[in-house]
C-alpha cells in the first residue's frame, strides 16, 4: 500500500484549547509521525481562513487524509467534511480528535492535557489512514408532517405547515385540542381573554383542508428516518359517530351518571356525566362517552338514556379502537407539560384543606364558562376576603425540580389582579424572586403592585389551619421577620413538569431527555428546536417550561424546520451502513436476530446472509456479533477501530 499524505490541523479555539493544551507542541510531535506531511496549528480552524488553509493544503500538497484536532465532532464534523469536499476530497477521509470537550475543558493540568491531546490525535492519525471514501445517501422526502399534541404550540405549528399548503396529521391524546391554555380565562401580560385568541385558531384547525385531526389518539410506533417516517397511531373509540353528532349535549343531560364524575377539564371543580361535551368551545365540538365510567361499558347494564335522548342517532357502542398508519417527512413534538401535584409538598395542605387550590383550578374558577361561572368562591360558596398566592411550589427546590418554571411569577401576578378584579380581597404573594423578564411583563407587575397587592419576599413555608381559617407561615426576608398571615384561600402556583408519559414518548420516537426530564434539544442555544434525531422537532413546554408567546414562537420555528425539509425535497441520511462479504459469511444466521430493523435476511438460494442497506442504520451491532468477521460497517470497521485504539493508547 502506498503511503498516505496526511494533513493534521490543531485548533486553538482561541484560548479554549490553547489555554490548557500546548497546541504548538502537539503539532510538532504529530509532524514527526510517518505519512504526516503537514501539521499546523491555528487560532480558529473552523473560521473561513482556517478552512481555506486546509483546502489549500489539499490542493497544493495533494493531501489524501485530514485530521482536525479541535472541538467535538458532534459540533463541527459536518463543517470540516464540507471543507474537504470543497477541495475535492471525500468528506469521510476526515477524522476529528476531540481535544476541547474531552481534553482542555475537563483537564486542569496543562502537561496532562497536552499528553492526552497528543494521544487522541495519534489515534486519529492511525485511524484516518484506514478511512475509505463514502458517498452520502440522499432520499426523497414525504411532504407531510405529523404534529403530536394539540396545545397552543402544536396548533401554531400545524396551522403554519397547513397554510403553506402541506398536509398535517395532528394527533391529540385528549378528546379536544387547546391544551392547557384552553382552561384559562385571561392571559398575562395583556389580559387578553384566552378563549378569544385561542378559539379562532382551534376552529381553523378543525376547518383546514390540510389538517387531519385525530383526537383521543396516541402514537404507538415510529419507524423510518427523516423524510420517511412511518407513524402508527391508535385512535380510541368515543362511542359517538362524529359525522352525526351535532354537539348539542342532549346525551349529557340525559345520562344517568349526570353530576357524578369529577370533570377533568374543570380540574375536578365540577361534576359531569359519562356522556359529555368536554367544554363549550371544544374542537371538535362532539360528545364523548367515557369508557371508565359509562355503566353500559363497565357493567354492561344501563337504561341507555343517552341513546334515547340523541336525536341525531350518533351514539354507537360498537366502536372499536382504530389503528392508523401515516407516512410523514417530519414530526413536531408539542406534548406540553403536566402540573406538579401539590400533594407531593404536604406542608401546604393541598388535598387536605378544601380552600387550598392550585393555579389551574383558579384559572377554571375565573373562567366565565367554568364551574363557578367566573366567581371566585370558597368551598362554602362565599367569596374570600383574603387570598395568598405561593410561588415556586415544586420549582427551584432541590427536593422536586431544580429549575424555574418561568411562568409562575407572571401567572401569580395575574391571579392577584384577577382576585382584585373579581372580589377585591386582600392578596398576599409569597415569592423567592420576582421574575418578570418578558415584553410588557415588568409593566404588568408594576400595575398590579399599584392595585394594592402585598408582595412578601420569602417562600411560603407552610399552610396550617387556625380558628377555622388558613394561616400561611413564611419568613419575610426583606423585613427579616417570621410572619403568619391568616387568609381564606391559598393558591399554590405549582411547577410545570415533564408529562407523565414523556419517557414513553421519548422511547417511541427515539429521542433523548435532558436531566430535568424535558425533551432534549440539539443545542440549548443554537438549536433549541431540533432534537438529536433528524426530522423530529420540538415546540412549546415539552422542551422546557415557557409562556404562550415563546410556545407560539417555537411552534412557528418547528413548522419552518418541517417546511424546510419539504422545500428541499431530499434529505441526506447517514451513509454509515453495514454490508456482508458473502465470501466470508458461513450462513450461521447469528446476525439475523441481532438487527432491530430486520435489515438482514438469509438469501435462501446461496444460504448467505444479506443486508438491505436502505434499511440498515449502521449501528454495527451485527458486525460485533458475526463470528466469521464477515460483516463490515462502513466508517466503523474492525481495522479502523483497532487502529484508533492502538493509537490512543500509544
Amino acid at each position: 500500500m502506498s503511503d498516505h499524505k496526511i494533513g493534521v490541523y490543531v485548533c486553538h479555539c482561541g484560548s479554549n484549547i490553547n489555554g490548557v493544551v500546548n497546541c504548538a507542541k502537539v503539532t510538532e510531535e504529530i509532524g514527526k509521525l510517518g505519512e504526516v506531511v503537514v501539521a499546523k496549528d491555528y487560532k480558529y480552524m473552523c473560521s473561513d481562513p482556517g478552512q481555506e488553509m486546509i483546502k489549500n493544503d489539499i490542493r497544493e500538497k495533494g493531501l489524501d487524509r485530514v485530521v482536525v484536532a479541535a472541538c467535538s465532532p458532534r459540533m463541527h464534523e459536518p463543517t470540516f467534511r464540507r471543507a474537504l469536499e470543497g477541495a475535492g476530497l471525500n468528506g469521510y477521509l476526515l477524522e476529528m480528535a476531540n481535544i476541547r470537550e474531552h481534553v482542555s475543558w475537563v483537564t486542569k493540568d496543562k502537561e496532562e492535557a497536552t499528553k492526552k491531546a497528543l494521544s487522541l490525535v495519534k489515534g486519529a492519525v492511525k485511524r484516518v489512514k484506514l478511512h475509505e471514501p463514502i458517498e452520502e445517501r440522499e432520499v426523497p422526502v414525504t411532504n407531510t408532517t405529523l404534529v403530536l399534541g394539540g396545545g397552543i404550540s402544536g396548533i401554531q405549528a400545524a396551522l403554519q405547515v397547513a397554510e403553506a399548503g402541506h398536509k398535517v396529521y395532528l394527533i391529540e391524546q385528549k378528546q379536544y385540542i387547546g391544551g392547557n391554555m384552553a382552561k384559562f380565562d385571561k392571559t398575562f401580560p395583556t389580559l387578553d381573554c384566552a378563549a378569544c385568541i385561542l378559539t379562532p385558531k382551534m376552529v381553523d384547525v378543525g376547518q383546514s383542508p390540510n389538517i387531519e385531526l385525530y383526537t383521543s389518539s396516541e402514537v404507538i410506533k415510529v419507524d423510518g428516518y427523516v423524510g420517511n417516517f412511518t407513524v402508527t397511531v391508535r385512535e380510541k373509540p368515543r362511542y359517538i359517530n362524529h359525522d352525526k353528532c351535532t354537539g348539542c349535549g342532549d346525551c349529557a343531560s340525559a345520562c344517568i351518571m349526570k353530576n357524578r364524575i369529577p370533570h377533568e377539564f374543570d380540574e375536578g371543580l365540577s361534576k359531569r356525566s359519562a356522556a359529555y361535551i368536554p367544554f363549550p368551545q371544544a374542537v371538535p365540538l362532539k360528545a364523548v362517552i367515557d369508557d371508565e365510567n359509562c355503566l353500559l361499558l363497565t357493567r354492561k347494564k344501563c337504561t341507555l338514556a343517552c341513546v334515547k335522548a340523541c336525536g341525531a342517532k350518533a351514539i354507537n357502542f360498537n366502536q372499536h379502537e382504530t389503528i392508523h398508519e401515516f407516512k410523514v417527512g417530519s414530526i413536531i413534538l408539542a406534548t406540553g407539560f403536566d402540573l406538579f401535584d401539590a400533594k407531593r409538598s404536604p406542608q401546604y395542605g393541598y388535598g387536605k384543606y378544601p380552600n387550598v387550590i392550585n393555579g389551574l383550578q383558579f384559572e377554571r374558577m375565573t373562567n366565565a364558562s367554568g364551574p363557578t361561572s367566573g366567581h371566585i368562591t370558597l368551598a362554602d360558596g362565599t367569596e374570600p376576603k383574603s387570598v395568598a398566592v405561593i410561588h415556586c411550589v415544586g420549582s427551584r427546590d432541590e427536593n422536586y425540580n431544580k429549575y424555574c418554571s418561568r411562568v409562575c411569577c407572571m401567572s401569580s401576578v395575574k391571579f392577584a389582579h384577577l382576585v382584585k378584579d373579581h372580589c377585591d380581597a386582600e392578596v398576599y404573594e409569597f415569592y423567592i424572586d420576582m421574575r418578570t423578564f418578558g415584553k410588557g411583563y415588568e409593566e404588568f407587575y408594576n400595575r398590579v403592585q399599584e392595585e394594592g397587592v402585598h408582595f412578601i419576599r420569602g417562600k411560603g413555608a407552610e399552610v396550617a389551619q387556625k380558628d377555622g381559617r388558613l394561616v400561611v407561615k413564611a419568613e419575610d426576608t426583606l423585613l427579616g421577620q417570621y410572619r403568619e398571615i391568616p387568609v381564606d384561600m391559598v393558591i399554590l402556583n405549582t411547577a410545570l413538569e415533564p408529562r407523565v408519559d414523556a419517557e414513553k414518548v421519548a422511547q417511541t420516537l427515539g429521542i433523548s431527555r435532558s436531566g430535568d426530564g424535558f425533551f432534549m434539544e440539539s443545542h440549548i442555544k443554537l438549536d433549541p428546536v431540533t432534537t438529536t434525531t433528524d426530522g423530529i422537532y420540538l415546540a412549546g413546554c415539552c422542551q422546557s417550561p415557557k409562556d404562550i408567546p415563546d410556545s407560539v414562537a417555537q411552534g412557528s420555528a418547528a413548522a419552518a424546520q418541517s417546511l424546510a425539509i419539504i422545500a428541499t425535497g431530499k434529505v441526506k441520511i447517514s451513509p454509515i451502513s453495514a454490508s456482508i462479504d458473502s465470501e466470508q459469511c458461513a450462513g450461521c444466521q447469528i446476525c439475523i436476530g441481532l438487527c432491530t430493523y430486520r435489515a438482514i435476511k438469509l438469501n435462501e438460494e446461496t444460504l448467505r446472509a444479506e443486508i438491505n442497506e436502505a434499511v440498515c442504520k449502521g449501528c454495527g451491532t451485527c458486525a460485533a456479533g458475526c463470528p466469521s468477521g464477515a460483516i463490515k460497517v462502513s466508517h466503523f470497521n474492525d481495522d479502523q477501530l483497532l487502529a484508533q485504539i492502538e493509537g490512543v493508547l500509544a
Binding site: E101, L594, I645
Partner: protein, 169 residues
C-alpha cells in the same frame, strides 16, 4: 500503591448518549482525571470483546464501555446486546487474569456529564489500587526473559563442554 502510577483507560462510548454525555462534561467545564482516552462507536452494541482485549494488549490498564440507558438506545436495543455480553465478558476477563476493577460497562445519558466524570474518577481510583496492568504482564515477561537468557547460557556452556545438550537422559 504507586503514587506516580497514572492508569491508562480506554473508553468506548456510543455516539448518541455517552459520547454526548462526555461532551456535556466538557461544555459544563467539569474536571475529571485525564486518564481516559475516548473512542467513539455509533452504538454500544458495536463493542465486541476483541476491542477490549486489544486495548489491554496495547497497554491499557482499564476499559470503560458506555452506552445509552436500556430503553434509550438510538438504535432501539443495541444496548440490550451490550448488556447480554457484559457479564460473560467480565467473567472471561477475570478468568484470564484481568482484575474486575479494570473493566466496567455503564450507561451514561447525554445529560449525565457530571456522572460521566464521576465514573471516570472512580475507575481511576479503583485501578490505582490494583496497579498497572501492563507492568504486571511485563513482569511476567521479564522473568521469563531472564530465565531464557540464563538457561540459554547454561545450555550453550553445557553444549560446548559436552558437544551436545545436557538433557538428563
Amino acid at each position: 500503591m504507586n503514587d506516580k502510577f497514572e492508569p491508562k483507560i480506554l473508553g468506548i462510548l456510543c455516539n448518541w448518549c455517552s459520547y454526548a454525555g462526555a461532551d456535556l462534561a466538557g461544555t459544563s467545564r467539569l474536571r475529571y482525571p485525564a486518564n481516559i482516552r475516548i473512542v467513539k462507536v455509533m452504538c454500544s452494541g458495536r463493542v465486541e470483546p476483541t476491542l477490549i482485549l486489544k486495548a489491554f494488549q496495547e497497554g491499557a490498564d482499564g476499559v470503560l464501555i458506555s452506552g445509552c440507558h436500556p430503553g434509550d438506545c438510538h438504535y432501539v436495543d443495541g444496548n440490550i446486546k451490550t448488556l447480554r455480553r457484559t457479564p460473560l465478558v467480565a467473567r472471561l476477563l477475570t478468568q484470564i487474569g484481568i482484575e474486575p476493577e479494570r473493566f466496567k460497562q455503564v450507561w451514561v445519558s447525554a445529560s449525565e456529564g457530571e456522572r460521566f466524570g464521576k465514573i471516570v474518577e472512580q475507575m481511576v481510583e479503583d485501578i490505582k489500587k490494583v496497579g498497572p496492568y501492563q507492568k504486571k504482564m511485563g513482569d511476567q515477561l521479564d522473568v521469563v526473559m531472564d530465565e531464557v537468557a540464563a538457561s540459554a547460557k547454561e545450555a550453550a556452556a553445557a553444549a560446548e563442554e559436552k558437544g551436545g545438550l545436557n538433557c538428563g537422559s
